[in-house]
């Protein structure tokens, strides 16, 4: 395994939800409540969970878009929490973010060319004379025609806009990209185009991704490692293939079994969770899942289960996972019939990411064109 690009320990961030008349906090949301992560360079870590589990807050903390209350974040061995203004600015070149909604994340008053050249000019990466060529290269990299540069975001479809957002993130030649639900707002046929593009770019440019998503079936196709979050804590974390073959935590299992499979008579071993996600203002004591978990015992109601790593690197935060009945994991989806498989194969074409001169520039570490 390659050296970690990102090491996170004990990361914690609470938000004050209500204050008394004297300004004293009376209610806090423990959005991120002590999590550890290690992300090797060139890999993809997926953060998975439902609304309000804290996954997006983690993404923002990693980029210091918001400040943590406790914990440490090391990026390529350097403590980013100790960075001053100047170092932080340099760090912004190395770590970028792509947001969920390309309709609101791109300034509607800027042309594509302006959008993409803004970070180039800010960081003084490319001399003004080469700016336009570089924008064209970046557009080519994400599979868009360079002549689109003069257009405005509203002239593009959702998938194309997300490509523009990706090109903008790539402009500064980052090492790390936090992808916060990058395909959730896209239609299914477009979603796979963007996923293929992200996968392609990672390989070509040796990028590292933090991929934030609520959708496990998407995660399966992009992640090397998956961390499942529930109410601010990681409840299970493992290599992607291992997690999908052997989900241990009752919450992970429930997530899997809740995915609707496009197969009318699929075996639905539903592990329905009872009730709603509790209010993050007053999460239940002990294991946060216990009010919804059918396996909960008295111990679960009192004692918070620590996230325990086993020798294979599969970590689980559950008192009882060893006793839980075995499940078939995700194999309940059958392979399609040969005829359908052959017909579907017609739709698998490699998205051609055009070769541009910029690719090499991007590959070379910190390779600034002179």
């Amino acid at each position: 395994m390659s050296a970690p690009l990102l090491e996170v320990e004990g990361l914690r961030r609470h938000f004050v939800a209500r204050r008394s008349a004297f300004g004293r906090p009376t209610a806090t949301v423990k959005a991120v409540d002590g999590i550890n992560l290690t992300v090797p360079a060139g890999s993809t870590l997926a953060l998975v969970g439902e609304t309000g589990c804290g996954k997006s807050t983690v993404g923002r903390l990693l980029l210091r878009l918001i400040e943590p209350m406790a914990g440490s974040i090391k990026f390529a061995g350097r403590d980013i929490l100790a960075f001053g203004e100047k170092e932080l600015r340099a760090f912004r070149r190395e770590a970028q973010i792509v947001f969920q909604d390309p309709y609101s994340s791109l300034n509607p008053r800027m042309t594509v060319e302006e959008l993409i050249s803004e970070p180039l000019a800010l960081h003084d990466i490319v001399p003004a004379s080469r700016l336009r060529d570089r924008v064209a290269e970046l557009l080519g990299l994400v599979g868009l025609d360079a002549r689109y540069g003069r257009r405005y975001p509203h002239e593009f479809s959702g998938g194309q806009r997300q490509r523009i957002a990706i090109a903008r993130a790539l402009a500064v030649e980052p090492k790390l990209i936090v992808c916060d639900e990058p395909v959730s707002a896209l239609d299914v046929s477009i979603r796979s185009q963007v996923l293929n593009l992200l996968n392609d770019l990672r390989k070509r440019l040796s990028l590292t991704y933090i991929f934030i998503s609520h959708d496990l079936s998407v995660v399966k196709h992009i992640a090397d490692r998956v961390a499942v979050m529930y109410l601010g804590r990681i409840v299970e974390s493992a290599r992607a293939d291992e997690l999908f073959a052997n989900p241990r935590h009752p919450y992970t299992r429930a997530l899997f079994s809740a995915i609707p499979v496009p197969q009318p008579h699929a075996q639905r071993q539903r592990q329905l969770l009872e009730g709603d996600v509790p209010s993050p203002l007053s999460p239940p004591a002990g294991c946060h899942l216990h009010p919804r978990c059918s396996y909960a015992t008295d111990r679960c109601r009192i004692e918070w289960p620590a996230l325990v790593d086993d020798p294979s690197g599969h970590a689980t935060a559950c008192h009882r996972w060893r006793e839980l009945p075995a499940i078939t994991g995700t194999s309940r989806q059958d392979a399609p019939a040969p005829r359908l498989e052959a017909l579907m194969a017609k739709f698998t074409r490699r998205t051609v990411v055009r070769e541009a001169n910029g690719v090499d520039t991007l590959k070379v570490e910190n390779g600034r064109p002179n």
Binding site: V188, A337, L340
Partner: protein, 327 residues
């Protein structure tokens, strides 16, 4: 089997202020019997929601031209006056929308919004209506309905709000229930609960349901029949098993192929290249042809004929049945 709902040649054209036109729905045809759930599936902009709104008479008359025939128990809904439609809506026709936070009135309690329907359509007095409202909330599995009935929508979670929405829709035992992306705004574990609820309601009532979704997984779980829409047309209509096992329209096949599979990981996901055609004018040939890997010259010139594949299964593709196409 007489159809409860009979939609024939439904067409919706929108007119903009500056003379632009948008052909949102073109010649949509389907029949729906009591007790049957029809899935309307397709991507953004394919016309599935517009079809639903046209059936419910909810499109703005000023900018939308609706033509064709929408039969409901033998009456053409398109010929009814606004007052007659208001009598039907909320009573025999009901609708559930995607976003329960915006479709519930934030200024009224949940109970008030159910009572309103019962008083308007069933002539109940408030006490009777309130008792019935509590019963309905219990039916949709809202815990402690006696308290919830007096709460405002913002006090409820997303899943609870959608249940309340379902309760309002079911208040008068509708014959036709249209659910437009009812679980799209919900988290997956909550979606599973709401789908479970809809499934049990299906068994209890004998209503016809039109379920609109972009998610083929949701369609597979709930529906008996499926209509796949693309660029304003139904391109394939089939019983649910046939649609997922022997789909006959390339777009359906492409959609199925694009869903990331849970049983294996692939290097490159299947995609449907290109994007939706411009709907400001009606395209000449097959609308999917520019994105279709099976397309050839015959697809471009004239609109594709409807190929009848089997019992209640047809496809709008000149190449169907696709068995003969050698991959």
């Amino acid at each position: 089997m007489t159809a409860l709902v009979d939609v024939a040649n439904l067409r919706v054209v929108f007119h903009g202020d500056r003379g632009q036109t948008m052909h949102a729905v073109e010649t949509v045809n389907f029949e729906l019997a009591r007790g049957v759930t029809l899935g309307l599936v397709g991507e953004s902009g394919c016309g599935k929601s517009v079809t639903a709104l046209a059936i419910m008479g909810l499109l703005p008359k000023a900018s939308a031209d609706v033509s064709g025939y929408v039969g409901f128990e033998g009456t053409n809904l398109l010929g009814l006056t606004n007052a007659a439609m208001r009598d039907l809506r909320g009573d025999r026709l009901a609708m559930i929308f995607q976003e329960p936070m915006t479709s519930l009135n934030p200024a009224f309690t949940i109970g008030e919004q159910i009572i309103e329907t019962l008083v308007r359509h069933r002539g109940m007095n408030r006490a009777q209506a309130r008792a019935r409202a509590i019963e309905l909330l219990r039916d949709v599995r809202i815990p402690s309905p006696e308290q919830r009935v007096d709460e405002y929508p913002h006090k409820l979670s997303g899943g609870m709000r959608q249940r309340a929405m379902v309760a309002i829709a079911l208040a008068c035992d509708p014959q036709l229930l249209i659910a437009d992306e009812p679980t799209t705004a919900l988290d997956v574990t909550i979606q599973a609960q709401v789908l479970d609820l809809i499934r049990s309601l299906k068994r209890k009532t004998n209503a016809a349901i039109i379920l609109i979704s972009h998610d083929l997984g949701v369609i597979a779980e709930i529906c008996d029949e499926v209509a796949v829409m693309y660029a304003g047309e139904i391109v394939e209509h089939a019983p649910v098993d046939a649609l997922f096992e022997v789909p006959q329209h390339p777009y359906t096949i492409g959609l199925l192929a694009s869903i990331p599979r849970l049983d294996r990981r692939v290097e490159t996901l299947a995609t449907i290249e290109g994007s939706l055609p411009d709907m400001s004018e009606v395209p000449q040939g097959c609308r999917f042809a520019p994105r279709c890997p099976f397309a050839s010259e015959i697809c471009v010139g004239s609109p594709p004929p409807i190929a009848n594949i089997g019992a209640r299964h047809w496809s709008r593709c000149v190449k169907a049945p696709l068995e003969e196409v050698r991959p």
